[in-house]
């Protein structure tokens, strides 16, 4: 008897924790409703106007509808402060959705348009004596690999040694100066790096029209070194000081401590950083356009003659379309797809390296 009498008011009284609040999933239902309403409106309008269904307009209207509705309803039920909170949540979420639109659009377009020429001859032929359809990007792929490889050979020793200096040795003004100027170097526009390489070699060889692959490698190094320094520095800083102290306490010389203890501990992170820096510069177009130039033939020699690279190939196919424009556009898009695949591959390898080379017990 007493049980029932005490329970009755409990059920009748509203739950203090949820009263005055919208149900948990109401924003989702509202969002679905807004989309349904927007689809209906656009279906009617577009059908009446005899136009194709406008997806972008529909999405924009739906999001605006949702923002207005959630603010109004929340304001009526929950009050002004909560309504503002809900409105901001809606806006911030749609900001993220907007940021995804170009990513999806770029990926989709590159894949759809890139498969047109994604065939064997694209990877086995150069553009020598090709007018119109056919031909391939072998010369550009070889050039990209050579120039980027050379840039890596230049940048990794310098970048890694600088990072070691900053973390292990650097004190005082030189270290502060290097830190600051490495940061400044990160901000050098890529085209300025190309102009620098051109100015340097044009003066050195006294050739005002100089174009060769090694110059491109130097230009890319200017862009790559700061990235390598930054990432290696971060990784070296992660090595616990106890390891260094233990080695030094055992009488190990400092340089061996660095080479045998610090570097092996952080090698996974350093390789990852190098991979990501390669991925960053492999897509650079502007500096190579200036110092490596463009050509339609194979060139395996970094130190003489113009050298084609994949990004410049893409630009060049687009910029100088012949009479059969579609063939040039197809090659451009396939080049873009190849470029993106290479970058993606480098990123994936970087992540795998980070995962499998990481020292045991650190994570």
């Amino acid at each position: 008897m007493t049980m029932t009498t005490t329970k009755a008011p409990a059920t009748a009284m509203p739950n203090a924790l949820t009263s005055g609040k919208l149900p948990k999933y109401s924003p989702l239902w509202l969002l679905a409703g807004a989309f349904a309403l927007s689809i209906a409106i656009f279906a009617v309008v577009d059908a009446a106007g005899g136009e194709a269904f406008n997806w972008a307009g529909m999405a924009v209207l739906a999001v605006v509808l949702f923002c207005v509705l959630i603010w109004l309803i929340s304001r009526l039920v929950e009050g002004g402060r909560k309504a503002t909170d809900r409105l901001v949540t809606a806006l911030v979420s749609s900001a993220f959705a907007i940021a995804l639109v170009p990513l999806i659009s770029v990926t989709y377009t590159v894949i759809v348009k890139g498969v047109a020429r994604f065939d064997l001859s694209f990877f086995t032929e150069s553009m020598r004596n090709v007018v119109g359809a056919g031909g391939g990007a072998l010369h550009a792929i070889v050039g990209t690999l050579l120039i980027t490889g050379m840039a890596t050979l230049i940048s990794v020793p310098i970048g890694l040694l600088t990072a070691i200096y900053l973390v292990e040795y650097g004190r005082g003004r030189l270290a502060r100066g290097v830190t600051f100027f490495v940061d400044v170097m990160t901000g050098i526009p890529s085209i300025v790096a190309g102009l620098f390489a051109f100015a340097l070699f044009a003066l050195l060889f006294d050739d005002p029209g100089i174009r060769f692959g090694f110059g491109g490698a130097v230009a890319l190094s200017v862009l790559m070194i700061p990235v390598v320094v930054r990432s290696s520095e971060e990784m070296l800083k992660l090595v616990p000081n106890e390891l260094r102290e233990a080695a030094l306490a055992l009488g190990v010389p400092k340089y061996l401590t660095v080479l045998k203890v610090v570097l092996p501990t952080s090698i996974a992170g350093i390789i990852t950083g190098v991979m990501i820096s390669i991925a960053r510069v492999i897509g650079e177009t502007a500096p190579l356009l200036i110092i490596a130039g463009f050509t339609a033939s194979m060139n395996y020699n970094l130190f003489a003659e113009r050298m084609m690279t994949l990004p410049v190939f893409v630009y060049n196919q687009y910029a100088s379309q012949g009479t059969d424009a579609q063939a040039y556009l197809d090659r451009a898009w396939t080049g873009a797809l190849t470029l993106i695949l290479i970058v993606a591959l480098l990123n994936i390898i970087a992540r795998l390296v980070a995962k499998f080379l990481a020292p045991k017990g650190l994570r």
Partner: protein, 314 residues
Amino acid sequence: MTTTVAAPAITAKERPGDRVFSTLTVVASSLILAVLAAVAIFLVAQSMPAFVAESDDFKGDATNFWSYVGPLVFGTVWSAALAMIFAVPLAIGVALFITHFAPRRIAQGLGYVVDLLAAVPSVVFGLWGIGVLAPALQPYYANLTEWFGWFPLFAGPVSGTGRTILTVAIVLAVMVLPIITAISREVFLQTPRLHEEAALALGATRWEMIRMAVLPFGRPGVISGAMLGLGRALGETMAVAMVLSPATIISFALVQSQNPTTIAANIALNFPEAHDVGVNILIATGLILFVITLGVNSIARYIVGRRKAFSGAN
């Protein structure tokens, strides 16, 4: 008679390996400073002839170097500023979404998705801008001039291809978005947990907590991230060179077919055919671009550095 014998100072044996290795690292570090100095010196050396060039050395109707570079500087700054107007609010929103609104478990993955945008080469963005974005936006530009043509920014006649400075600004915004987002995300994550919890415990909603605790704390970081993005937008070459239909004019109109071009795009478009003093003129414009981005980046780094020193949040 107890005399305290001073312990002989123990000095470690100087090993040749140590010498060599530490010298190597110092050389590598100095090399970086030397490279930066070389960039400045060679650019200056090669651009000297441009400053005294005759008026018929310039393309167009410029009479001296400064009247040649003026419209280019304007175009560079104007397109980058427009890109910032789009990118900064969006980046702050995305960073807030990843750090404070998205479910914890997928937040990191979402951050990685945005970073993917940074992995797309600029020439691909150029292709996309001219092949997809420009045609898609053109009808809206037409509407814009039709309805808001009285407003100077949207004055007609509208561009028939959509290759306008507004399209360029949108492409640039997409390209700098990951940089600004990444830095904003970092600083938002560094907000002291206790500040956030204190705000929530006092009854603040999530947005009020962000406004009171997260945004004031993260403001310097967001500003420096925006400056770094601005530096990138100022120097971006290929996307602008491919998308924009250029002219040497100073005009604020957003959707016309005559658009002010940027320094970087101008170099990329004209360098392959340039000769004699024309090369020096282009290098000189590059020097101007270098100085502008150097200034912007130094300010950004200064803001970051100052904050690191005094906040203790690193």
